[in-house]
Every structure is written in structure tokens, then in C-alpha cells.
């Protein structure tokens, strides 16, 4: 029983699912950018310019949902990239859950520290830099 649904197998599935979902969003996003010829009020050539000043800093994450409904390629790619970022984070959550079930306190604490670092980078650091 336990062998079938152990942490390794679940981790493996999460990783695979995360990568595939993320890639699908990225591919759809790129296709939409080419079809619409623009995204988020920037032209395709502005978005594609290697020296473009249009970068992640100007893409608010709150715009993802409306952007996806409006079939905006920029936000599909953004969604894909953030799913990619969240994939390994989900794995840490799974590990935390499994360590809790196995009553392994030192590894519960360690997983929490890793998650703390991840969310510190995500939430606290950007506010310190602005």
C-alpha cells in the first residue's frame, strides 16, 4: 500500500505534470503572440527584441487571469513560466506532508525552512528592493 503511493512516485508525477502543463501554456502563448501580432499592448517585434525593455518587471502577476481570458499571449507565457517556478515548490510541500505522516520532526523542520526561504525570496525580497 505504502509503496505504491510513496513520496518518490508522487514527486515524480508532480514534476512531470508541472513541466508538461507549463510547456503547454508557453507554446500556446507563443502561438497567440504570433497570431495576434501583439501582447499586453506591445507589438510582436517589441516583445521579440533581444534588447527589449519590456521584461518580467512590467508584467504584473495580477494580470494573468484577465490576460488568459483575453487570449493574450504574454500572459499565457507568464502563466507557463510561473507554473514552472511552482513545480519544485510543490515538491517541497509534498515532502513536508510525507515527513509529517512519517513523524520525522527534524525533516519537517527542514522542509519548513526550505519553504520559508522560497517564500522569503518570492514575497519579502521584492518588497525590500523596491
Amino acid at each position: 500500500m505504502e509503496k505504491q503511493y510513496d513520496i518518490d512516485t508522487i514527486t515524480s508525477h508532480i514534476l512531470k505534470a508541472g513541466v508538461l502543463t507549463s510547456l503547454s501554456f508557453i507554446l500556446i502563448g507563443i502561438a497567440l503572440l504570433f497570431i495576434n501580432g501583439q501582447g499586453d499592448h506591445y507589438t510582436l517585434s517589441q516583445i521579440a527584441n533581444f534588447n527589449s525593455t519590456f521584461n518580467s518587471r512590467f508584467i504584473p502577476l495580477t494580470g494573468i487571469l484577465p490576460g488568459i481570458i483575453a487570449l493574450d499571449g504574454v500572459y499565457y507565457v507568464t502563466m507557463g513560466l510561473w507554473i514552472l517556478i511552482f513545480t519544485p515548490i510543490t515538491v517541497v510541500f509534498t515532502a513536508l506532508y510525507s515527513f509529517t505522516l512519517k513523524r520525522n520532526p527534524s525533516y519537517v523542520v527542514m522542509s519548513i525552512i526550505v519553504l520559508f526561504n522560497l517564500f522569503f525570496a518570492m514575497i519579502v525580497v521584492p518588497r525590500l528592493l523596491i
Partner: protein, 327 residues
Amino acid sequence: MSAVLFILAKFLLIMAAGIIAGILGSLTGLGGATVLVPLLSLFFSVPIIYATGASLISTIATSAGSASAYTKKKIANVKIGIGLEMATTAGAIVGSLTAVYVYAHNFSWTIYVIFGVVLLTSLIPTIHRGKYEEPPHKQADWWTKVFQLQGSYYDEKLKKNVSYTGVRWWLAELIMFFAGVISGLLGIGSGALKVLGMDWAMNLPMKVTTTTSNFMIGITAATGSTIYWYEGYIQIFIAAATAIGVLIGSYLGAKVLVRITNKDIRWLFFAILSFLGIEMLLKGLYLGKFIAFGPSTEIFISSVSAVLMITGLYLHQKRGGMIGKTV
């Protein structure tokens, strides 16, 4: 219409760079990003900021892609990985913040220099890696018991269960912190340092080391990526192309790797990587106004030194015996 085709060609070109980086990265064991950053910044004139941003995010894709296979086979040790991630994630925060400082003060030439040095120095442990499958047995220490560093896996080649005992956990944590800093600073997975931490410091078998490192790289890169995102180092067009490209490339690389019987061919790849490393170093010194060569002289110097360096390492290994038993 032709403008759209031109942009499409640009996308495919960056994707192709990603594929090449993925193949070379997995064949040498250094990871796609280590090849991608020099390719993009030296040959595609992508600003180093965007090159590292795209690489860091692509690193997550390859790490997750390959780790999904290894964790299922129970070779990667998730427990040891999570424990060491405390240090790599903290290091990644420090590294990315250092990158923010460096770019804000126009010191980006230092990124080229550090990149070149890191690439060249990580080639050496990578070349010497894998001389033995099982590490010499070491007595369990205090850390082994407290952090439950024992484990085992089934080795398909040896057709037996290999059990191992991890030691010197504190030393590995220290090395992992630096691996994290390098990852956040340069936008790479810094797998070579992670392997050093587990192979040399903790005395783990090579297979456990490489697969656990692969699993860890994604978590480290995710930490740096969020800071890169808010700072605007990620140009989504480039990042989209490289994420797809590197993933395809490392998948192909892993397939090819199984078929390569003549291990000497790997030396050609090592030569290409050392060329890229020296080029990065020279470009950094040029941008920092320490040297003033023309581009052709720069390529000449890089090629000659790359050939010399790899020939030297090749002869050194041949003399030392036990070559070709890698991977």
C-alpha cells in the same frame, strides 16, 4: 508578413541554441544553463542579464524533466536533497541579491569573468568524476544518525542493491550554500558544486549524487527565478524559447548518452566548453577594460588555450589510468 517570419526565425534560432545547450549540458554533465549563457551572450548578442534570466528558468524545466525519471526509480534521495536545500535556497537568495547589486552598479563585466572561472573550474571535477561506482566505506558519524543519512538503491548495471552512508553533513551544507550563491548570481544550476558537496564531502555514490543534485537544482533555481522575475531579468520571448529548447536538448542528450560507446568523444565536448569558458573570461576582462584585443585575437587565444587545457587534462587522465569508465 516577412517581419513575422523574421521573428519566427529568431525564436527558432534561440530554441536551437537551447537544444544545443541541452545536448552538450547533459553529455558533459554540467547542465544546459552552463552552456546556454555563453551561447546567448557571446553569439546571439543577448544582454547578459536576459541570458542568465532565461537560463535560470530553463534550468527548472530540465531539472524537473530528468528528476521525474530518477525519483521514480528511487535513486535520488529526496530526504538528503531537502536537507541540503536549506543551504542552497539561502545561498540562491544571497546570489541573486548580489546579481541585483552588480547590475545596478554597472559591474556586469564581473559576471562574465566569474562565469568563465566557474565554468573552467567545474570542468575539472566533472572530467575526473565517476572513476568508481561505489565510494569507499566510511564509518557513520554523528550527523549520519541525527539526519538519517543512510539509504540504498538498486543499481541496474551492477544488478544489486547498493547501500550507502552519508557523512560530514555540515561540510556539504557549507558547499551547498556556495552552490546556491553561484546559481543565483550566474543563472545556472551549479550542478558541479552540488556534486562535489555530496560526492566528496558526504561520500555518497555517484548515481545518488548526480540524481539528487538534479532534483535539487530545480528548487534552487526556483528561489533565484522569483527574484529575477521582479527585477526584470526575464525577457519572456527568450525565456520561452530556451525553456522549450533546453528541455528538448537534454532529453536528446540523455538518449544519445546511453549509445555513446566511445568515451573519448566526450573530450571534444569538454574542449567546446573550455573554449566557451575562456571566451567568457576574456570578454569580461575586455568589458572591464583590462585587455584590448580584437574579436579575432580573442577567438584565437580562446581556441589555443582550450585545446592546450583539454589536451593536458586528457593526457593526465590517460596516465592516471581508469579512463573511459565514466558514466
